[in-house]
Subunit: 160 residues, 2 copies
DNA sequence: TATTTTAGTCAGTCCATATGACGAAAAGGG
DNA sequence: CCCTTTTCGTCATATGGACTGACTAAAATA
């Protein structure tokens, strides 16, 4: 289960020369560690079919349900790609789709109880993994790091 | 070229709730922005066939050349996967493989002049992209962010 | 009412990973 | 020197996760 985590972008390896320590690499390395822990942890807790790609649904879906198109836009992917994710989650019993009463073309994607369980577990594991990193870096520095990343994220989101 | 980071307007639904701003998400967002700039820039400068996956080769290859197995290990992927990357780069004239004089089974993968040009451009674009982010966050904060990420990377590398 | 836009599906493609099985060369122990 | 084991790389194949293009049906609009 160790390497059950496949990323869209290549996982960082070791020994990158100093000159090659781009910011991108510096961001990706801890991300890979987190993803490994979180999705490995999910597998260990009985959700082996939840993969990193599904995160983009869990991150955005609203409690009342979200439309496919809405989810796709928020995750910044095509609706076809999101439909693929929804289908696999649907087959696993994590989401269900119901007709949207407000629009005959649309369907609402909603978390099932099992799906909500995944979401909770996902958040808990993320917090755990973050704490594990904080143990290496020190709580104070981790707090600073998070704060800076949040600030950067806000700026970047504001531009979209 | 994937528009991983599109310029479209925010969708009707709100962004990820506060509670979903995991560290992983905070790391991935700026990474996506960097990757977009860097690989988009490479395409614009005449290297349209260099994709993010190839980064894991460029980051680790030694000037004298590296063996496939070595590259695979450093990039933490299978040798088959690395062979796939090497082949595509080889077809584009970015690397060449020569027999390893020390080992009849092995072949050395080496950058061609064109490959070295890509490496240089890659590093230059990364620096540019980092500077662009620094423009949003402020140079001082970006320096702190980088410093913290470097420290974290060191700790994480030491464990592997 | 007629036209255009929007929500979602179907079909096909490509890329980047993974496994497993394999031949050939090297290394090492008798 | 052989014999066995390990290592280097390849072939074949599968899968996940993204894409584009063409389409239907429903809604919104002119």
């Amino acid at each position: 289960m160790s390497s059950a985590v496949s990323l869209r972008h290549p996982p960082p390896g070791r020994n990158a020369p100093e000159s090659h320590r781009t910011l991108g690499w510096l961001l990706r390395l801890p991300y890979a560690v987190l993803a490994e822990r979180v999705y490995g942890g999910l597998a260990a807790r009985g959700f082996p079919d939840i993969r990193p790609a599904h995160g983009s649904l869990f991150r955005h879906i609203r409690p009342e349900g979200s439309r496919l198109t809405e989810l796709a836009e928020q995750a910044q992917m095509t609706k076809q790609s999101m439909a693929y994710l929804v289908q696999s989650l649907s087959e696993g019993g994590y989401v269900e789709t119901v007709p949207d009463p407000e629009d005959g073309r649309a369907r609402l994607v909603r978390l099932t109880p099992r799906g909500r369980q995944v979401l909770e577990t996902l958040l808990a594991l993320s917090a755990e993994a973050e704490a594990a990193l904080a143990a290496r870096l020190g709580a104070r520095k981790m707090a600073r790091l998070r704060g800076l990343l949040e600030e950067l994220a806000e700026r970047l989101e504001a531009e979209r």
